[in-house]
Amino acid sequence: MSEKRVLVVDDEIHIVHVVAIKLRNNGYDVITANNGAEAFELACREDPDIIVTDFQMPVMTGLELARKLRETEATRDIPVILLTARSFAISQEQQDELQISECISKPFSPKELLGSIEDILYQKELVADN
């Protein structure tokens, strides 16, 4: 089985760094971006298996990124996990509409984030197999 690729997006480089280390330590291939626009470009080019993005970022927010991903054929089915420091950042309707797999609020546990990524990728594989 090939290495799963995770795109980690946050304007806080410390967060990107720590998540990348956690994922790499657990056998994932990690690519990173500091804002939504950069992330979209990477997503189109690198075809990640899953995207972990911050909600509030300069240039393009996590929500705008998710919308753009869903509007683009090549990136439509990539699962997205939203990290947010804001309570009630998005509504359930928005989450369903943009097919955001999970919203994780900051401060978060890298361990739990890893667990969520594994769950989502496992489910994705099951769906693909069926």
Binding site: I13, H14, H17, N25, Q56, P58, R86, P107, S109, P110
Partner: protein, 486 residues
């Protein structure tokens, strides 16, 4: 009177003629039987006429007294309304007098009742006029716009604030239809007022956006119906309270809470994640561990800085902050803060440069507070500058003015001209730059408070979109302050 006089004349002529006829007859036939009979006849006639004369005199007297009484009653009626007609004399006249007296008493009582009523009415009118004046004074002194309409939606009363809001002059607008006085862009208010009046409700409230002198504003509009004595609606009163500022403050507070919680959670997220990684042994080697510890330390400092910003803002505002001033060199303070900001600037790939120390730049300041001013200006400059840009700090001493001036110039995004005057306002964040970086809208306000309120200095800013901004402050030199004190 004339009749009485004529009667007297007639009686006197008759008596005289009788005496002449009797005397002449007696004189011609004196000594004869005929003479005596003439004399006797004359005497009888005389007696008869004397009796008639007495009767006539009595009648005349009676008539005269009656006329006199009536005349005196007429005179009394004409002259005096207070005295009563005295009884006496003729019973018929007495009866008449009594009737007149009774009627007069009744009229007098009625008049005095009417006079009392008139006095009461006059008092009520005066009270009503005073109440009206009081109401007018109250309405005119209210800063909120107040409009009073009648049951036909015609304007009865309006104060200056209402005139200003709706663009009419009350003196020339009274009793005109409100719909004709207020421009169509504010017709929703007229409709609301009219609807409330028709609904006959006691009080109706609605938030309404209306433009005043071209500026959009929000009003809390309360309309109460006015009821007459029969409990029928005879008009309505509308009070429009300007809540634009309250809404703005409330919005800014909400934004502030949201920003602060976000700003607090961001370093906290790093601390939590890195400490968990350390605890789980995910930092493989000593170098990584050291790096993790360093991140935790820096993020904890960032958290502390933010909390200090929030606390200091409220402390300075409430005047509870303890200020301990001492002579320090601004250049040294700047150098210390430059060291602190460098790691953040390097992360963003922004070059930060200072300048060589100036020897005579001693200022008498609270070291911690001015350090916070410098770090806030520096971190803002780095935050709003793109990767590859630069931030430059300059200090100069103006000996003539007796002050030192610090300038922090960046090559960042810049601030629109329309927003530049608000950048030092509490919670204010430049709209177009919100996406550029996170913030609470407190940092620059704190800079202003510390420099101007605590140190009698001055803050300034110049900016150009796409070119960059210069933020700075001036503080009095310690030497100059000493001279002033002496």
């Amino acid at each position: 009177m004339r009749l009485g006089r004529n009667l007297y004349v007639i009686v006197t002529v008759i008596v005289t003629c009788s005496l002449l006829v009797g005397g002449l007859g007696a004189w011609q036939n004196s000594g004869t039987e005929e003479g005596w009979s003439f004399a006797g006849l004359g005497l009888i006639v005389l007696i008869c006429y004397l009796l008639g004369a007495v009767g006539v005199v009595w009648l005349g007297w009676y008539w005269l007294s009656l006329a006199g009484r009536i005349t005196s009653i007429a005179g009394w009626l004409k002259k005096d309304g207070q005295a009563r007609i005295k009884p006496g004399g003729n019973p018929a006249i007495n009866a008449l007098s009594e009737a007149i007296n009774e009627r007069f008493d009744a009229y007098t009582n009625h008049i005095s009742e009417l006079e009392t009523e008139i006095k009461e009415l006059q008092i009520q009118i005066q009270l009503s006029q005073r109440r009206e004046k009081n109401t007018e004074a109250i309405i005119y002194s209210i800063r909120d716009a107040v409009i009073v309409i009648d049951e036909f939606d015609k304007l009865l009363m309006a104060n200056e604030a209402a005139g200003r809001l709706f663009g009419f002059d009350f003196q020339n607008s009274q009793h005109k239809l409100l719909g004709e006085l207020i421009s169509t862009d504010k017709s929703k208010f007229v409709d609301f007022l009219s609807r409330c009046r028709k609904s006959k409700g006691r009080a109706t409230r609605q938030e309404m956006k209306l433009a005043e002198e071209g500026r959009p504003k929000t009003f809390d509009c309360i309309v109460s119906c006015v009821y007459d004595q029969r409990e029928q609606v005879c008009g309505a009163v509308a009070v429009l309270h300007d809540i634009t500022r309250e809404k703005e403050i409330s919005r800014m507070k909400n934004d502030f809470v949201s920003h602060v919680s976000h700003e607090l959670k961001t370093p906290l997220a790093s601390i939590t994640a890195y400490s968990e990684m350390l605890a789980d042994g995910e930092a493989g080697d000593e170098e990584t561990r050291k790096e993790f510890y360093s991140v935790i330390q820096n993020q904890a400092k960032r958290l502390n800085r933010l909390i200090e910003d929030v606390l200091n803002t409220s402390r300075i505002e409430s005047g509870l902050i303890k200020v301990s001033k001492e002579p320090v060199s601004l250049t040294i303070l700047i150098e210390e803060q430059l060291q602190m900001i460098r790691s953040f600037a390097e992360e963003k790939n922004v070059e930060v440069t200072g300048q060589k120390p100036i020897v005579f730049d001693q200022v008498n300041v609270d070291k911690d507070m001015i350090s916070q001013v410098i770090v806030n200006l520096l971190s803002n400059a780095v935050k709003y500058t793109h990767s590859g840009g630069s931030v430059k700090v300059e200090t100069e001493v103006d000996e003539i003015a007796g002050l030192t001036r610090v300038r922090v110039t960046d090559t960042g995004v810049g601030i629109p001209e329309s927003e530049i005057e608000h950048v030092f306002d509490k919670f204010y964040r430049v709209g177009v730059n919100k996406k550029q970086a996170k913030g609470t809208g407190l940092g620059l306000n704190l800079v202003k408070q510390i420099v101007e309120k605590v140190h009698n200095g001055r803050v300034f800013v110049t900016s150009q979109i796409g070119v960059g901004s210069t933020f700075g402050f001036e503080l009095p030199l310690a030497a100059r302050e000493k001279v002033k004190a002496v």
